[in-house]
């Protein structure tokens, strides 16, 4: 844990001190493009508090370029909740597919660091039921239940996050998930309390934190020419800056 914190801190420091770095105007990086697989880890504290459903999530990764990684997630979840006036059960599987965009330039990233934004589309297939629903009204307590029914939902996910190579080919990272429900699949009245892979289905917006580990092996090295931003210093120049992060590629 201490080592993970150290890497996260280094990554943060790298991001914050980036404007102070003064290197040559052009760098050539032998950038490792990787492919791999990983798994999501839920916070032990949250799991103990019973805030998240039980389940498992695995992911596959494929670096398309030094910036873009294709990502596919798949998992299952089992969710049980008993409140003062209802009992609810939900089981299902989900898939998410999309891409990570690394905001770090190739020199900083070096195939080892990631700080960026992930955009994904998600599909969830689940069944849910209510063991009981209790309703207290003027007429007394009314109790009913709902048989299990099968549904499909889909959603979009935006996830800023960070990742670092902890040791050779082994990465650890975390991110914040913000998910937008496109279609709940259950109708307005019996919305799912939990949608696998999405979260709380009673609201159109769901958010959470994700921790994950992954093993990523280089499948190819790509030479990337990175042109650093250069401040014009010649006399008479107004001091304009060239757009940063221009890259060229030698395959």
């Amino acid at each position: 844990m201490r080592r993970t914190s150290g890497y996260s801190f280094r990554l943060m420091l790298l991001l914050m001190l980036q404007p102070l770095v003064n290197a040559s105007a052009q760098d050539t990086v032998n950038f490792p493009l990787r492919l791999g697989a990983g798994a999501a880890l839920f916070s032990p504290v949250s799991a103990l508090a019973g805030r998240y459903p039980g389940g498992f999530e695995a992911s596959g990764f494929y670096d398309m370029s030094e910036r873009i990684t294709l990502v596919a997630d798949g998992g299952f979840s089992s969710f049980v909740q008993e409140n003062h006036n209802y009992g609810y059960e939900n089981n299902g599987i989900y898939f998410r597919a999309g891409a990570d965009y690394n905001l770090l330039n190739p020199v900083q990233a070096a195939g080892r660091y990631y700080a960026g934004i992930s955009l994904k589309y998600g599909l969830s297939l689940f069944s849910h039921s209510n063991q009981f629903i209790e309703y207290d009204s003027f007429w007394g307590t009314y109790t009913t239940s709902k048989q299990s029914s099968f549904h499909g939902a889909h959603f979009l996910e935006v996830s800023p996050g960070v990742r670092a190579e902890l040791f050779r080919n082994f990465f650890i990272g975390w991110g914040v998930n913000i998910r937008f429900l496109v279609y709940g699949g259950t109708g307005e009245d019996m919305r799912a309390i939990d949608i696998p892979g999405f979260g709380n289905g009673s609201k159109p917006l769901s958010s959470g934190i994700n921790y994950f580990i992954s093993y990523r092996i280089p499948y190819r090295h790509k030479r990337v020419i990175y042109i650093k931003p250069v401040r014009e210093t010649e006399e008479g120049d107004s001091g304009t800056t060239r757009p940063p992060g221009t890259t060229g590629t030698i395959r």
Binding site: M12, L15, M16, Q18, P19, Q81, N83, H84, N85, Y86, L103, L104, A115, G116, N130, I133, Y135, S137, F138, W139, G140, Y142, T144, K146, P160, G161, V162, G175, V176, I178, E188, D189, M190, R191, I193, D194, N200, S202, K203, S207, G208, I209, P243, P244, G245
Partner: protein, 157 residues
């Protein structure tokens, strides 16, 4: 512009921390209305203007509960609750000392309010019948009986 946006990533760690903080502080308490009711307004026959009843007493026929309103003065509107266990229920409405009954016929179904609040029961109003001692007519305006504060019926006196 887009390039500039992509290169504002120095703020990313801060953004992640702020969003994490917000996410971790989501409250899990119920602050929403969970009881559905028929919202009824009083109107004057002929003019169609809103009316205040001098005194209102409302009791459910066949319910062991007390009255909802007991000789309450100057009411423009009332709330009536439907029995989810039956397809119909009757209310005894006493306006200015004169008794009338209104019977509602409906379908009931559960509706999720939120994860925190749980479920309520919504109703789809089919029709209603009433006696005509002080009531002239009853018009159904909105058949969806929910927790939303919208008028469902108009009682003309």
């Amino acid at each position: 512009m887009l390039t500039h946006l992509f290169h504002t990533y120095k703020t990313l760690p801060l953004l992640v921390l702020v969003v994490s903080f917000i996410v971790s502080c989501v409250p899990e308490s119920c602050y929403q209305e969970t009881t559905s009711s028929v919202k009824a307004g009083f109107y004057e026959t002929g003019t169609g203007l809103e009316l205040k009843a001098d005194s209102v007493t409302l009791a459910a026929q066949g319910s062991s509960s007390d009255t909802v309103y007991n000789n309450v003065k100057n009411l423009k509107s009332i709330k009536l609750f439907l029995d989810p266990a039956t397809p119909g229920c009757t209310w005894v409405l006493t306006l200015n000392g004169v008794n009338d009954t209104i019977t509602f016929f409906y379908e009931s179904f559960p509706h999720l309010v939120s994860k925190e609040c749980g479920y309520t029961i919504y109703h789809k109003l089919d029709r209603c019948s009433f006696t005509k001692n002080i009531i002239d007519t009853v018009i159904i305006r909105n058949t969806n009986i929910t927790v939303i504060n919208e008028e469902n019926i108009r009682i003309f006196l």
